[in-house]
């Protein structure tokens, strides 16, 4: 088992959004500001890593046909933990992420990794897989958020960039999110196509 490879794959070759095509909902909806994107990454990675740990450690006991309901229960538990922790210690973040915290449950990456990886592999390598996927997810999210916050709000990390300039508000709204992600996907396809030709 090549640990480094399992860790690395989520960041680029098997990037959850750009290559596999999962988890577009949180990516588009939460990338309105960089701080939102970072907190979402933390929350989703927390759930992803812990559910990977738990699922890979019980993988030999769980009957095949009971897999999915048990996985969902475990994931929902960790999501609730994140929900409670954020509500108690970072209420501002809790408010601005809103319904996208409970919706981490239906984030396809988490159930996808549980099903595809953690239920077949050991604990340590599952942690690395979760970590890599979490970083990959976060990377796409943050890049998108940086672009949208600069263009759509004339800000970065909540601070104004050029005083007095009117930003393009559409970038902050849904249309801008779609366009920006489409461009990212286009770029990713172009890079991969070029690599293939070489």
């Amino acid at each position: 088992m090549n640990y480094w490879k399992e860790f690395r794959k989520g960041i680029w070759e098997r990037n959850p959004q750009l290559v596999v095509g999962l988890a577009f909902c949180p990516t588009l909806a939460v990338s309105t500001s960089v701080s939102n994107a970072l907190w979402m990454t933390l929350a989703a990675s927390f759930v992803l890593i812990w559910s990977n740990i738990l699922i890979s450690s019980v993988r030999k006991v769980v009957a095949k046909h009971l897999r999915i309901p048990i996985f969902i229960t475990i994931i929902a538990t960790f999501v609730t933990v994140v929900d409670l922790l954020l509500n108690a210690y970072r209420p501002d973040v809790y408010k601005s992420l809103g319904i996208f915290i409970p919706l981490i449950v239906v984030n396809c990456i988490i159930l996808g990794r549980a099903e595809e990886f953690a239920s077949k592999n050991g604990v340590l390598v599952s942690i690395l897989d979760g970590l890599g996927m979490g970083i990959g997810f976060g990377l796409t999210l943050v890049v998108l958020a940086v672009a949208r916050e600069i263009l759509g709000a004339n800000k970065l990390f909540g601070y104004t960039l050029i005083p007095g300039m009117k930003p393009a508000a559409a970038m902050i709204m849904a249309p801008g999110a779609f366009f920006a992600l489409a461009l990212m996907l286009w770029g990713m396809n172009a890079i991969n196509a070029r690599k293939k030709r070489k």
Binding site: T32, S33, P69, A88, P91, S96, A153, P163, P167, I172
Partner: protein
């Protein structure tokens, strides 16, 4: 057959769910009091912000039209004369969820101040309702200096413009760009506020919330006066 097909899976799933819920109840035990404490802290800060210098009385809860309504009575002593004022919680649906605000009014229905307690509006648009004017830019932060503070405008510009408006007539929503202190006079004359650029829904939500909150406050005060005929003034 039945044991294997129905009872066993049921028992296993139930056991997993029970274990999860048991674990969660412990997390809740730790975070629960913290959450309640934060909400109360936030409310108290907002109360002091909208009714500066007042002694705030007890929280009162009533139901108006089947909806919960929370308000406070407050008093300020100036020599022998005492000024009365009220604060209430206003709630209204904005663009992406409810916008909750604390509103302070005096007896004549003039707004002493509002403070938006919680909102989930879009960053850069509706969320600017809690933004502070004259904010330093990213470059200033990187360079380690903080200019723009000379103007003294470190107040949330959107909330600031509610100060002094009267709730006895409708609040007008005007589109004059971001509020600055030199617009105060002309806005007060028209009993209006300047809407947030590109976020009319949020602006309308806050205004309508404040207005309907005032209506409810009047109803609540009437009712409490009816209930204690001896205490009616």
């Amino acid at each position: 057959m039945i044991v294997k097909d129905i009872i066993k899976p049921t028992v296993v799933c139930t056991a997993v769910a029970l274990a999860c819920v048991y674990a969660l109840s412990h997390v809740q035990k730790i975070t629960g009091p913290e959450i309640i404490k934060r909400i109360k802290e936030k409310q108290d800060t907002a109360l002091n912000l909208v009714l500066p210098g007042f002694t705030i009385g007890e929280k009162r809860e009533t139901t108006i039209d089947g909806k919960e309504f929370i308000y406070w009575e407050a008093e300020k002593k100036e020599g022998i004369a005492a000024t009365r004022a009220y604060a209430f919680l206003a709630k209204s649906p904005g663009y992406a969820g409810d916008v909750d605000s604390m509103v302070g009014v005096d007896e004549k229905g003039t707004i002493l101040g509002i403070s938006i307690i919680s909102q989930t509006e879009t960053p850069g648009l509706g969320a600017r309702c809690v933004e502070v004017a004259g904010q330093e830019t990213l470059w200033d932060i990187l360079k380690g200096r903080t200019p723009h503070t000379g103007t003294g405008e470190q107040v949330p510009f959107f909330q600031e413009q509610f100060k002094g408006l009267t709730l006895n007539s409708k609040i007008n929503i005007l589109k004059l760009g971001d509020w600055t202190s030199d617009k105060r006079e002309s806005l007060l004359e028209k009993n209006g506020i300047s809407a947030l650029t590109g976020a009319t829904i949020t602006t309308t939500a806050v205004v309508r919330g404040v207005e309907s909150g005032m209506m409810r406050l009047n109803r609540a005060l009437e009712e409490s006066a009816k209930e204690q005929p001896g205490g009616a003034r």
